[in-house]
């Protein structure tokens, strides 16, 4: 096996040094009744070339290739990824390093993460951003736990029903053992969250909204954060599409206290939903309640600028069970990748790209309306929206699929009362011709 360098002579000589007769003898401390005895029914080992063939065959069973036009976002977005980002993120000095416990040997990772924290903080309007969480869903769960820690005695949080259903499910799973109550807020006719239920309550630790929300609708975060603060709660906002903040007012500007979400849009492949990137930031006042790793700037013995993991006193290896979270390994190379992507876009580029997503989405929305579709939620959108159709859309959906176009995600599995409604997503990867083809099928 090419990963195992030992020759039989070396093994013999090393065993002699140790004073053990055989490799099996190294395991004499393992009692017989703990032993694996049955052979493993695993496939025979594959050569590199056989492995290529095998994965090639599996790839062949995927209905869609990389050039298919997938007009589905719902938490996983198709954006172009520059070759530079792939190439630089694939550098093995970054990829094959561990968490930077020895900062002198990891300044590349550390400066790169510090830059990621900074650019993300600027994008979201936050004072502090951590080195990453696992994904958007677990980030939301951790944000709610953080809200409960800050509020101390309150045991209830509220989440909008317009937050990604999978994110809400993760939040429920995380909060279930401690028996925290999770209230779900209804969605108004315009697709925004109904906050009227907060008016008479003072027992809620934190309220979470998503913007743009699962239906693509941009929440009125300024009004919402004021209402949430009036109820004595912290305002948490989450997102699945960070590109939106290249165009829209950022959550910090709108009054959010904690912002979390999924950063996959920034240079990371969809890859069947992972690895992605949990982005997580907060206002300065809450820094010491923040979960996750943080990189900070400092100086070395000679006064040179350098970076280290810091504020470890919040973390599990020092605070043990009192830690702000149990997160250890996070999504390091994904955060580096997002940093590279944000650097490649720049302030000018992110505006232009966000605008392009917005314009194309509006184009499809208008084209579908002209073709007879209706838009159930009137609220403004960024690059996703919900449509419904005068006739059963399934045949048109199937005809488009035959052309390698996935025309939206039917919502009944996630929202049973929304059967027949489709959630569409349009990014820069979808050309006008594809949008026109979809509209034509709706008319047909």
């Amino acid at each position: 096996m090419r990963y195992l360098p030992h020759t039989p002579e070396e093994i013999a000589s090393m065993l002699a040094t140790i004073g053990t007769k055989s490799l099996d003898g190294l395991f004499d401390s393992v009692p017989a009744d703990c032993r694996m005895t049955d052979p493993w029914p695993l496939p025979a080992p594959k050569s590199e070339w056989e492995l290529n063939d095998h994965l090639g065959q599996l790839a062949g069973t995927m209905r869609l290739g990389p050039n298919a036009k997938v007009l589905v976002g719902a938490g996983s977005y198709h954006h172009y990824i520059p070759e530079t980002v792939r190439n630089l993120a694939g550098r093995s000095e970054f990829l094959t390093a561990y968490t930077p416990y020895q900062p002198e040997l990891a300044q590349g990772t550390l400066q790169g993460i510090f830059e990621y924290q900074t650019l993300t903080a600027r994008l979201l309007g936050m004072d502090v951003v951590n080195a990453s969480m696992y994904d958007g869903a677990s980030a939301l769960a951790e944000a709610l736990l953080m809200g409960l820690r800050i509020a101390k005695k309150k045991r209830t949080v509220a989440v909008s029903k317009a937050i990604h259903p999978h994110y809400r499910a993760a939040a429920r799973a995380y909060l279930a053992p401690a028996a925290y109550e999770v209230i779900e807020l209804e969605v108004l006719a315009n697709g925004r969250t109904d906050l009227s239920g907060l008016a008479n309550r003072d027992d809620i630790a934190a309220v979470a909204l998503q913007s743009p929300n699962f239906f693509g609708v941009i929440e009125d975060l300024e009004t919402a954060s004021a209402a949430i603060h009036d109820a004595g709660a912290l305002c948490i906002t989450c997102f699945t599409e960070p590109l939106a903040y290249g165009l829209l007012k950022n959550p910090g500007q709108c009054g959010a206290d904690i912002v979390c979400g999924e950063g996959q849009s920034f240079g990371i492949s969809r890859s069947y939903g992972g690895p992605g990137l949990g982005m997580f930031g907060c206002k300065q006042a809450f820094t010491r309640n923040l979960p996750g790793r943080l990189v900070g700037e400092t100086k070395d013995l000679e006064g040179r600028r350098g970076y280290v993991l810091t504020l470890a006193t919040r973390e599990q290896h020092i605070r043990r069970e009192k830690a702000t979270s149990n997160i250890c390994s996070n999504q390091g190379i994904c955060a580096m990748t997002a940093g590279m992507y944000m650097a490649s876009l720049g302030g000018t580029g992110i505006r232009q790209l966000a605008r392009l997503n917005y314009d194309k989405t509006q184009y499809l929305k208008e084209a579908l309306i002209k073709a007879g579709a209706t838009i159930p939620f009137a609220g403004p959108v960024f690059n996703e929206f919900v449509a419904e159709f005068p006739q059963d859309f399934r045949p048109a959906h199937a005809r488009l699929l035959a052309k390698d176009i996935v025309a939206g995600l039917e919502l009944s599995a996630l929202y049973p009362q929304m059967a027949g409604r489709y959630l569409f997503c349009v990014t820069e990867t979808i050309d006008k011709q594809t949008l026109d083809t979809i509209a034509a099928e709706v008319r047909a």
Partner: protein, 491 residues
């Protein structure tokens, strides 16, 4: 082979991103718009984002220079204990980047994603076979996420039996994240001290285990690199009191093909695919921490599960007793593809051989270094061995000094000051992918450093000197945290 690895390299400076670039540059290609500009309400519009504008060359040079300040497994030996920094095969990167797989969308219908579903299903099967347990969830995104999932399963199982419990036993030789993972589920951690041999004592477990204790979290082999020989006895005690046994499988690289987790009495076990199964650690992730359980606990695993009907694969989420979702989709799928590729490349014989050689390498280092470094627990070790700085204290040299001197000599240091039960610990895990020549060079280097500690201690106190930066002021970093760059510094 006697030539030292560490030399002074050509190290270039590189400013922070926002001190580079010029307004109006761009580093990536954006398609021309082929649709009309749409109106947008002014109250939605944000101000310009304060990112620096960089060209493609600016970006490439920036990150290339940063990368050269880093040390990875591809650079050299990385004997970081309990982290299993083995070689990360290049072919695994290619497999994860297979275009149809890398572009797969997680929200589409199962009939569109048969290939990725099959990978999930088969990897679940393979990990069950390898651990001896019955069912697997691939959703946890890291080891600590696996621990949390395991604790959620403990909690849900106890709840299903009608009586909730409030404590959990955690030995002092367990991994550092265990108490925090248990605390997330409301369990109070009850520490279990190990005995003079570094092992868990069943009598003590029997004393501490009661009917308000949910179970025990055991790291086996433990963080001293020792196999908990009485694990079955301990499991029986915990089970008799109605508790469950959690196995932290972070150290699985020692015992592939040797132990059967189910026979050991383990009910829930997590694996670290970024350790044992060769996926790269990425400077801090993404990892993957699949959770393997007994048949009895299968209903509690996170949803969705990947299942097979005839020749078709599908996701199944109708499991009423499940702890629910702990990730938006299927965990770090790209990492799972790499581990799947590794298992297919290694096969049964290769995986078992890997553990044998990992243990061989660790014992070889232990035998050769125990004459110069204090070895607090002198027993046959598994995949790692733990020394201390006891014998260097007379020269006022501590573990950190030896670790930093190793950097100047071209090696990544071992894990230091962990486990906590060894004062001044140095935890060395070579892994199986290091060859004898490199290990001999590492041993010779440590021996030289030990001599230097007595004869030229200043060399150690001043180390490292050949890196981009020297020792960093961590106290200052924590006292006046600077966690993001100042705003308004973009050009």
């Amino acid at each position: 082979m006697n030539e030292p690895l560490g030399t002074g390299g050509l190290i270039l400076n590189e400013p922070l991103l926002w001190h580079k670039g010029k307004k109006g540059r761009i580093g990536m290609s954006i398609p021309e718009s082929d649709v009309p500009a749409a109106p947008i309400a002014s109250d939605l519009l944000g101000t310009d984002v304060d990112f620096p504008d960089l060209s493609e060359v600016d970006v490439v040079r920036h990150y290339t220079r940063l990368s050269q300040w880093n040390f990875g497994v591809d650079t050299g030996m990385y004997p970081l204990g309990s982290c299993t920094m083995k070689y990360n095969p290049k072919t695994n990167e290619r497999q994860a980047a297979t275009p149809e797989i890398a572009s797969a969308h997680p929200m589409l219908a199962d009939d569109l994603n048969q290939g990725t579903l099959r990978i999930l299903y088969e990897l679940q099967q393979y990990l069950a076979i390898i651990t001896g347990l019955d069912a697997v969830s691939l959703q946890p995104a890291a080891g600590a996420h696996g621990e949390l999932t395991g604790m959620l399963i403990f909690h849900a199982w106890h709840k299903s039996r009608g009586a909730q419990r409030h404590k959990i036993l955690i030995p002092d030789t367990a991994h550092g994240t265990n108490p925090a993972s248990a605390a997330l589920c409301g369990y109070k951690a009850v520490p279990v001290p190990s005995d003079a041999q570094g092992m868990l004592d069943p009598a003590l477990v029997a004393e501490l285990m009661d009917e308000d204790t949910a179970g025990i979290m055991v790291t086996n082999p433990n963080t001293l690199g020792l196999f908990e020989e009485r694990i079955r006895e301990i499991a029986a005690i915990v089970h008799a009191k109605g508790g469950l046994v959690y196995g932290d499988g972070a150290n699985m690289n020692a015992v592939l093909g040797v132990i059967d987790a189910k026979k050991c009495g383990i009910d829930v076990l997590h694996l670290n695919l970024h350790k044992t199964f060769s996926t790269p650690h990425g400077g801090g992730g993404p990892g993957a921490g699949p959770v393997c359980v007994t048949r009895e606990l299968e209903p509690f695993l996170p949803v969705p599960r990947a299942v097979k009907d005839g020749e078709t694969y599908r996701l199944e989420d109708n499991r009423p007793q499940s702890v629910g979702r702990i990730h938006a989709f299927h965990g770090n799928f790209g990492v799972l593809v790499r581990a799947y590729s590794y298992i297919l490349s290694m096969g049964e014989a290769g995986l078992k051989k890997a553990s044998q050689l990992a243990v061989l390498n660790a014992n070889y280092i232990k035998e050769q270094l125990k004459t110069v470094l204090h070895l607090p627990y002198d027993r046959p070790c598994m995949h790692e061995c733990v020394f201390s700085d006891l014998w260097q204290q007379e020269y006022k040299i501590s573990t950190v000094d030896m670790a930093k001197r190793l950097i100047d000599c071209g090696f990544h240091p071992p894990t230091i000051y962990f486990p906590l039960i060894v004062h001044g610990a140095m935890m060395i895990e070579p892994t199986e992918t290091e060859c004898k020549d490199d290990i001999d060079q590492f041993i010779a280097t440590v021996k030289t450093i030990v001599l230097e500690a007595a004869e030229q201690p200043e060399l150690l106190h001043q180390a490292p000197q050949r890196t981009k930066v020297r020792r960093l002021d961590e106290v200052q970093a924590a006292r006046c945290p600077c966690l993001i760059g100042p705003s308004g510094t973009g050009d």
